[in-house]
């Protein structure tokens, strides 16, 4: 299993920072129960928590996948919001592609 190295750690930290800024942005707005912003905020918090706890490529991939699933199933795709938030999921996938593969390095 691919583990997190220092390079990917920095990338994950950068993604977490970006998520935190979006969480703060949403918290500053008026978020009512059952609104899209309410669920978006919860999913961002969950995505952040999953990335903080991630120990492997699979953990990061699953976190990105769950957040991406929420965006794709609950937002209209042509909106700016969708394009803005789905990038966070895309970034998560991009990080997993950069994970060091131990088998390759041992050749």
């Amino acid at each position: 299993m691919s583990t997190i190295n220092s390079v990917t750690n920095k990338e994950i930290a950068s993604l977490i920072t970006k998520i935190e800024s979006l969480i703060a942005e949403l918290k500053n707005s008026d978020v009512s129960n059952d609104s899209i912003e309410f669920y978006l905020l919860n999913n961002l918090v969950k995505y952040r928590q999953s990335l903080v706890a991630a120990n492997s490529k699979q953990d990061v991939e699953n976190a990105a996948s769950i957040f991406g699933r929420f965006c794709t199933e609950s937002m209209d795709w042509e909106t700016k919001d969708y394009q803005k938030y789905i990038q966070l999921s895309e970034k998560g996938y991009a990080i997993t592609r950069g994970f060091a593969n131990k088998a390759t390095h041992s050749i």
Partner: protein
Amino acid sequence: MMRRDLHGKLDGDGIKMGQAVETGVSFIAPLVIGKVMTPSVAPQSLRSLGVLENTKISTAQIALERQMAAQNIKEARNLLRNAGVPREEVNKVVRSFDLKTFRVERVSSGRTEFRVFDDFSARLEGRYVSPDLFPSQTETITRLALPSNSATRFGTVFIPEGSVVFTGRVAPQIRFSPALTGGSRQTFLTGKLTDFKFEEIYVNNKFGNK
């Protein structure tokens, strides 16, 4: 035991298909179990009984279904990509279905399906819906393979005529949990969410709890 053969004659010293199986045609056996054959009917003669033709048809049917699924998947990928959905998400939507059951459907008459959601992660207005409802929360989560949905609330969604949806069986999502076995029917709504009418429904004592 006296039985009648395929021509209606009483079976005297006939052999059963079990003996034919031993001669190396075991794949045929399930299709003709219970029929009694005279010794003169060799396994290769089964073609004349229509058994092998049936086998051929089912193989052709499988190939046709696969081809049809592949065409539908290609169409769905193009539809999602043209709508601005990133490649990873496109793959994820397609792989949320059992691929051989995947179909793109243009809804010919409006229908109502169900949406499960919760108070935290999954919203009522969502694209994954199902014509099936399950008696327990656990079964709902496992059969619909929901990785991040507590399925504590229910809603109906009216899918109007002319909508383009993806249908098929839910694929297992075991990378999230071995319990997410899927298997239920699933519909994925495309287009604007405002095109569909979502409404929460309240079910008393839905999980047997008061």
